[in-house]
């Protein structure tokens, strides 16, 4: 069964024998990159960050001496500033076709991985341990957003015992002390990068990267402001994976800035013309935690069946405010380190995972209010335990604001945990209730 009340969701064939030993980078290039290139030219630009990320994966494959492993919530600006390219193992699981991801998760379980390990990190265990991925020149890791990141550090340390790692201790608080702590560590990080890569840090290059990064944040901030308009000019689901890849992987690059400029121009034009998404906006919903990646037709169903437009996503989009003004042509090393620390401390998902539960709660309340949500959906990624333990309080505090929240469990990547049908059967009565409430007002 892959349909709910006649709506056809994505189907899978898990009986097919998957060859997990194939080169995953080639596979992604062929299947995901190929799919984007096959689309009409006028829409191809929308997917440019995904293409850029795939190009970087290909670059890593061809230039092993430049590969720096990076945790997905460690800001990539440091790597760009050092003229290297980052390789994020978890990005593979995020982009891979679902059947491959599931086969890799099973392979990880065969190695003894705990059953509760999520698809996001679990899918990468076997490729790492079987040495199917490029050898790193250096490894930048951190301990946010969850314990699994710490455990992933064990995997990296055991897999690459000869490669020293740099680990960022992400702070708990959001005060100036926390920023300084992060900046002090990043200073050690740059020394580490110089030692490991043989490249010398060029301050001008660092300035340029941080300027691009700041510009990217200014642009996404403006885009998000426009998304508060009703009808939402760009329903988030349409470019969810692309925006996510952009801000987890590409900040600091000029190409991302160019893409965001185009994205902003498009959003402005849509607002000016009063254009929303493909379907009429009847309800506005915010996803307050994770969101299923394996089947985007769930969002189509929500729009079609209930006119429920997803206007914001907790972990996919950067809600980090644009950084403070700075003259990048003269900015000092210390000033840039401070900015990079702010950037790291406010990384999507990391910020809510590393800190106090009040950060999670308050961020979600703020987004739901600002984006004028009729309802919130907490699709708890099953291994995000810290977020799960924040959900009930979030629900109660959102209720105080008149915003109901649905809680349900998912694995973002693995439909075997919760399928599209199961999600729909939870979402359906919730969205109906939101509609009734709205009509009663």
């Amino acid at each position: 069964m892959s349909s709910y009340k006649g709506f056809q969701f994505k189907t899978y064939d898990f009986s097919k024998k998957i060859d997990t030993t194939v080169d995953l980078i080639d596979l992604i290039d062929e299947l995901v990159g190929g799919d984007i290139k096959s689309r009409p030219e006028q829409v191809q630009w929308i997917f440019d960050p995904l293409l850029q990320a795939i190009e970087e994966l290909k670059f890593c494959q061809a230039n092993p001496d430049k590969v720096v492993y990076r945790h997905f919530t460690f800001a990539p600006e440091m790597i760009y500033a050092m003229d290297c390219v980052s390789f994020v193992p978890e990005a593979l699981t995020f982009i891979l076709p679902t059947e491959y991801l599931c086969a890799l998760v099973d392979e990880g379980r065969d190695l003894g991985m705990p059953d509760h390990w999520c698809g996001f990190l679990g899918g990468v265990l076997a490729p790492l341990m079987y040495k199917r991925l490029p050898q790193p020149k250096a490894i930048l890791h951190c301990n946010q957003p969850c314990d699994n990141s710490v455990a992933q550090g064990t995997v990296l340390a055991e897999t690459f015992p000869d490669t020293e790692m740099f680990i960022l201790d992400n702070p708990y608080t959001d005060d100036e002390e926390a920023v300084q702590f992060c900046a002090d560590q990043l200073r050690e990080g740059f020394s580490y990068m110089e030692r490991m890569t043989g490249n010398k840090l060029d301050l001008d290059r660092f300035r340029e990267v941080m300027k691009n990064s700041a510009r990217a944040y200014e642009l996404i901030y403006e885009i998000n402001e426009l998304k508060k308009v009703s009808p939402c000019p760009i329903p988030t689901s349409a470019i969810l994976r692309v925006t996510s890849v952009a801000f987890y992987a590409l900040t600091g690059t000029e190409r991302l800035v160019k893409w965001l400029e185009k994205h902003l121009a498009d959003a402005k034009e849509r607002v000016a013309k009063g254009i929303g998404g493909f379907r009429e906006e009847k309800l506005r919903v915010v996803w307050t935690m994770s969101w299923p990646v394996f089947d985007y037709s769930v969002y189509d169903w929500m729009e079609e069946e209930h006119g429920a437009i997803a206007v914001a996503y907790h972990s996919a989009e950067p809600f980090y405010q644009p950084p403070p003004d700075l003259d990048y042509s003269t900015a000092s090393y210390d000033e840039l380190l401070r900015l990079l620390a702010l950037r790291n401390n406010n990384h999507s998902m990391g910020r809510q995972g590393r800190g106090s539960l009040n950060t999670f709660v308050n961020d979600n309340i703020k987004w739901c209010q600002e984006f004028k949500a009729d309802g919130a959906i907490f699709a708890g990624h099953w291994q995000c335990q810290a977020n799960w333990s924040s959900a009930q309080i979030t629900k109660e505090k959102l209720a105080d604001q008149g915003i109901p929240m649905l809680m349900m469990m998912v694995d973002q990547l693995d439909p075997r945990v919760v399928s599209s049908d199961q999600m729909a059967s939870r979402l359906d009565p919730f969205l109906e209730m939101l509609t009734d409430r709205k009509m009663a007002r």
């Binding site: 190695l111 509760h116 969850c146 710490v150 990296l156 680990i167 708990y172 539960l357 291994q383 799960w388």
Partner: protein, 376 residues
């Protein structure tokens, strides 16, 4: 009653009898969540440090309201349940830290839902980088200042010096008890030793030292146990619970050593204390001691410790345990499996536990089979 029985009673009680005496004397008791929070500082402030435990919880209904049982560890849920049901009402405050995601959130939920009279969060880094060690020093200094304010009196360097000396004496005496397990026939069981360790984190350190000295005298007179038993090491996490110890020992084994935080990890390394650099030395010592998987990339070091302890204690088999939903211990299974060939000692497949222990039968069957397999 002898020292052994007194310590066992203290270890079994949550709270134990010393807490009442302490409170009646008008002194404060502060609960703390994890072994990376130095009790030395709390005691120097004049309070009894009490490591919070889940022992006594019969369910987790109230805790589950906030901490979903489908993905959260049962130990912090049990602790939180006891906070909800009033067991911890005697505490004058609670100290949390970022040991793991589960315990961090359980502490925060305790604060959010129950508004204890005093609370503080100590951030403990997971690496020993220069900036991270300095951050921990800053955190400990901040902790001291906050305690100064709470108690209305400054912890001076002599207070801290004395407190460290007391706790180091605790560790030294506990290590002496532990070393009795190097004998072929240890005078007490691993279960009894585990109760003693539980007592050590919840009674006044002076009283502990007195009882441990008496215990060592008692044990010197005690005849060794008669039977040759299968010598087992527990590696991983069992918490303050004794079910695994009991299951092993009821099956003809004896738990001679462990590397657990409610266990050898808490006393094997003395605090490397420098009176001229008090907080710096405390911070370095805590970050650098026998480690917990919460510390980054520390598996190799821990594996080396397991190998060394297994040799020292002439171990016949190692039981690897973890609680359900623990990521940090969970991943160790993969690498223990990879390296088990290096040790030439049987290693159990991971025994996944639920803290409340409803599955006692399963644990007993597994341990019985493991001990039997070694005995041959």
């Amino acid at each position: 009653m002898g020292a052994l029985q007194t310590l066992i009673n203290y270890g079994e009680g949550n709270p134990n009898a010393t807490v009442g005496e302490w409170k009646r004397a008008g002194d404060k008791v502060l609960g703390y969540w994890c072994s990376y929070i130095p009790p030395e500082i709390i005691y120097a402030a004049g309070a009894l440090p009490y490591r919070v435990r889940g022992c006594g919880a019969t369910g987790t209904d109230k805790a589950d309201h906030d901490m979903s049982p489908v993905c959260n560890c049962s130990f912090p849920r049990a602790v939180l349940e006891l906070a909800h049901n009033g067991t911890y009402d005697y505490l004058d405050g609670i100290i949390g830290m970022n040991g793991c995601d589960h315990s961090r959130r359980a502490f925060e939920l305790w604060v959010e839902r129950l508004s204890p009279p005093f609370h503080h969060f100590v951030y403990v880094p997971r690496t020993q980088k220069k900036a991270s060690v300095q951050k921990y020093v800053d955190e400990l200094n901040k902790f001291k200042t906050i305690l100064d304010k709470f108690f209305g009196a400054e912890i001076n360097s002599e207070d801290l010096h004395e407190s460290v000396a007391l706790y180091n004496e605790n560790r030294g005496l506990l290590k002496k008890v532990q070393e009795l397990f190097k004998r072929d026939n240890p005078p007490i069981t691993g279960t009894q030793r585990h109760h003693i360790v539980n007592a050590s984190v919840s009674i006044p350190p002076q009283e502990l030292n007195r009882l441990l000295r008496e215990l060592l005298e008692e044990l010197a007179q005690m005849p060794p146990s008669a039977d040759k038993k299968v010598r087992i090491m527990i590696a991983g996490w069992v918490g303050d619970d004794t079910l695994v110890h009991q299951a092993i020992e009821d099956s003809g084994g004896v738990v001679v050593i462990d590397n657990c935080c409610f266990g050898a990890r808490s006393f094997m390394d003395p605090l490397q204390y420098d009176p001229d650099q008090q907080m710096e030395s405390i911070a370095r010592s805590y970050l650098g001691r026998m480690s917990c998987p919460r510390m980054f990339a520390s598996f190799s070091e821990r594996f080396g410790e397991i190998e060394q302890l297994a040799k020292e204690y002439n171990v016949d088999g190692i039981v690897h345990t973890r609680l359900q939903f623990c990521d940090l211990h969970g991943i160790e299974n993969v690498f223990l499996n990879q390296r088990k060939g290096q040790m030439d000692i049987p290693l159990s497949s991971t025994l996944v536990l639920d803290y409340i222990g409803q599955d006692e039968g399963r644990v007993r069957t597994r341990m019985e089979a493991f001990v039997e397999q070694i005995r041959g």
